[in-house]
């Protein structure tokens, strides 16, 4: 059985406040912000590795991004993935969820026969949760999102469990299928020294737009139905009155202020 895990390299969420807007060009500036593998993508890699622990299969990790995105792939290889694919081309730049899903789906169709595609449910930077389900449509396979338990129930089916607003939904999927996982599914392993040393011996292939056979108007910004019309800094105005002193005194003070303003 072959499993493809789609991952993404994202700015570290703890450093989002360092992301600024150029006052003139309004371009996003994120120099110096460390990049990491999107946190819940580790759970997707782990889910694949756990399936491989139980029955033989090949785990391929795949990402689309600039050249440095190979770091995220190397990390997944160090965790234990067998092979990696980097989709890297200037033509891919500026892709929205739709164009990303179309591009990645085309690469999977071309290079990776699969029984299962796994993704993290959302990315830390944009968090749309859309690329997975859109890819499923372009790959013409069934899908389930935000799943917290996964069990293979034979060669052709799997059972998943997902939280849906105060209910638990159990879904049976016919393979091949695409699944996005939540953090609740497992505890991702940390790469050990052996794993890190083996990375150099594993295959990491890079493909560009021409390799995928998609017309350039389907790729990147050109292939994206949505556009960013504007970006601005946001800060909600609050009174920010900070009280320090004896707990009794400040509590009384805070309640009195809220009472006066209409909060209580």
């Amino acid at each position: 059985m072959d499993i493809v895990v789609c991952i993404k390299q994202v700015p570290h969420p703890d450093h989002f406040s360092q992301i600024t807007l150029d006052p003139v060009t309004k371009a996003i500036r994120r120099e110096g912000v460390p990049l990491i593998m999107n946190p819940v993508d580790r759970n997707a890699v782990e889910a694949a590795l756990q399936l491989r622990d139980r029955s033989p299969c090949k785990v391929t990790v795949l990402t689309m991004g600039p050249p440095q995105a190979r770091e995220a792939l190397e990390e997944a290889l160090a965790m234990g993935a067998d092979e990696a694919i980097l989709l890297c081309d200037r033509a891919f730049a500026g892709a929205d969820a739709y164009a990303t899903a179309l591009t990645v789906a085309a690469a999977i169709k071309k290079f990776c026969p699969f029984s299962l595609v796994l993704c993290g449910v959302e990315t830390a930077d944009s968090g749309t949760k859309m690329v997975g389900p859109m890819m499923a449509e372009f790959l013409d396979v069934p899908y389930a999102t935000n799943i917290r338990a996964l069990k293979l129930t034979g060669e052709e089916t799997c059972l998943v469990e997902t939280d849906v607003d105060n209910a638990i939904m159990r879904v049976e999927l016919r393979l091949p299928a695409l699944i996005t996982v939540s953090k609740a599914i497992n505890e991702p392993r940390i790469p050990d020294v052996m794993g890190i040393m083996q990375v150099a011996d594993k295959t990491l292939s890079t493909y560009g737009a021409e390799d995928l056979g998609l017309p350039t108007e389907k790729l990147g910004l050109a292939g994206s139905p949505t556009r960013v019309a504007s970006v601005w800094e946001f800060k909600k105005d609050r009174r920010a009155e900070i009280l320090q002193g004896s707990p009794k005194h400040v509590s009384k003070d805070a309640v009195a202020k809220l009472r006066e303003w209409g909060g209580l």
Partner: protein, 334 residues
């Protein structure tokens, strides 16, 4: 294909009960459809759900497409997606809105991909603005943890699709006996649409007040660990007749349920009073309560960013401050 200039709202229902967010979207839909000078239409899918159509009409829909079939009793993503996408392709609405609920977030990208249009996720504002002479839906989303705002547009493809967080818009006052059209649609349901088949949906106990409906919300952050449990947090919420919520770390710890998590990847709420206890104020958390009218924060670190997004902040140890706060509120309420 016809250019209808219609605004569509997906009427999410589960077990014969409409999701509140669908009614909120009808409220906004009335405004958007007036600006577009087109109709407001709702799409209802399920089994034995036709009676809900009148509720949609009374909340502003002028037409309701009802897709009622026993095979659609449970939510099956690709079957729901396919029947809705077929309807969208046939009628070409200008705008199509869904709630950013678990189901909405699962379903919307499937429809967008099938129709071949753009989708904007978890919007916190929607408005029509002129773009090169075309009335265009501007869809505002929080970016990079909430410190930025991004306006997204979909210039060419139609419909302009967006999911909207529950609680962003207000449920309109229902008017009884509103006139409108109920149109039954017979779906084409091939077996392959059920390759992902929902076997069961087990409702969890949800007796507590949903946080998006509460006037007062008391949210616990990591600092609440020092209390050893949630008892005092609950007590404060009780004396205020409010609801208990929390941050992602508290969800991961199992002290709150997923429907009570505040933040960019959780609920975005706008209560009259929001009380943050022991949360430092990371942006992806504070973006979840920025529409609150008033914010009170308690944390022991005077440098914590939470104090910059609060109206009044108390610096102190929760173990000492919380009993005093409960006492003061009790006095006020008695």
């Amino acid at each position: 294909m016809k250019d209808s200039r219609e605004t569509w709202v997906y009427a999410e229902q589960r077990g014969g009960k409409l999701a509140r967010v669908s009614l909120e979207l009808l409220g906004k839909g009335v405004e958007l459809s007036e600006k577009l000078a087109g109709g407001l239409v709702s799409v209802l899918v399920g089994s034995g759900i036709e009676a809900l159509a009148s509720e949609l009409l009374s909340h502003g829909a002028e037409k309701v497409y009802v897709i009622d079939d026993p095979r659609l009793e449970h939510y099956h993503n690709q079957a729901y997606g396919a029947v809705i996408a077929d309807l969208v392709k046939e009628h070409q609405p200008e705008i199509f809105l869904l709630g950013a609920t678990a189901i909405g977030e699962d379903l919307a990208p499937c429809i967008a991909a099938k129709v071949g249009t753009g989708l904007t996720a978890h919007c916190i504002d929607l408005r029509i603005e002129d773009c090169d002479g075309v009335a265009t839906l501007h869809q505002t989303v929080p970016g990079w943890g909430g410190g930025k705002r991004v306006d997204i547009i979909c210039p060419q493809q139609r419909p302009q699709m967006a999911t909207v967080k529950p609680g962003v818009f207000v449920v309109p006052h229902g008017k009884k006996h509103r006139q409108g059209q109920i149109v039954k649609v017979s779906p084409q349901l091939e077996d392959r649409l059920f390759r992902a088949r929902t076997l069961e949906m087990t409702e969890q106990e949800g007796s507590e007040l949903p946080i998006e409906e509460a006037d007062v919300v008391v949210a616990a952050g990591w600092g609440v660990n020092a209390l050893g449990n949630m008892d005092m947090v609950r007590e404060l919420a009780e004396v205020l007749q409010g609801a208990v919520a929390g941050t992602r770390p508290l969800l991961d710890k199992g002290w709150i349920t997923a429907d009570r998590m505040i933040g960019q990847s959780g609920k975005v709420i706008g209560p009259n009073l929001f009380i943050s206890l022991g949360a430092s104020g990371a942006m992806h958390f504070s973006t979840g309560f920025e529409r609150a009218k008033f914010v009170l924060a308690v944390d022991q670190n005077p440098q914590a960013p939470i104090f910059q997004v609060a109206d009044v902040g108390i610096v102190g140890d929760l173990r000492e401050v919380l009993p005093c706060l409960i006492e003061q509120v009790k006095r006020l309420k008695s």
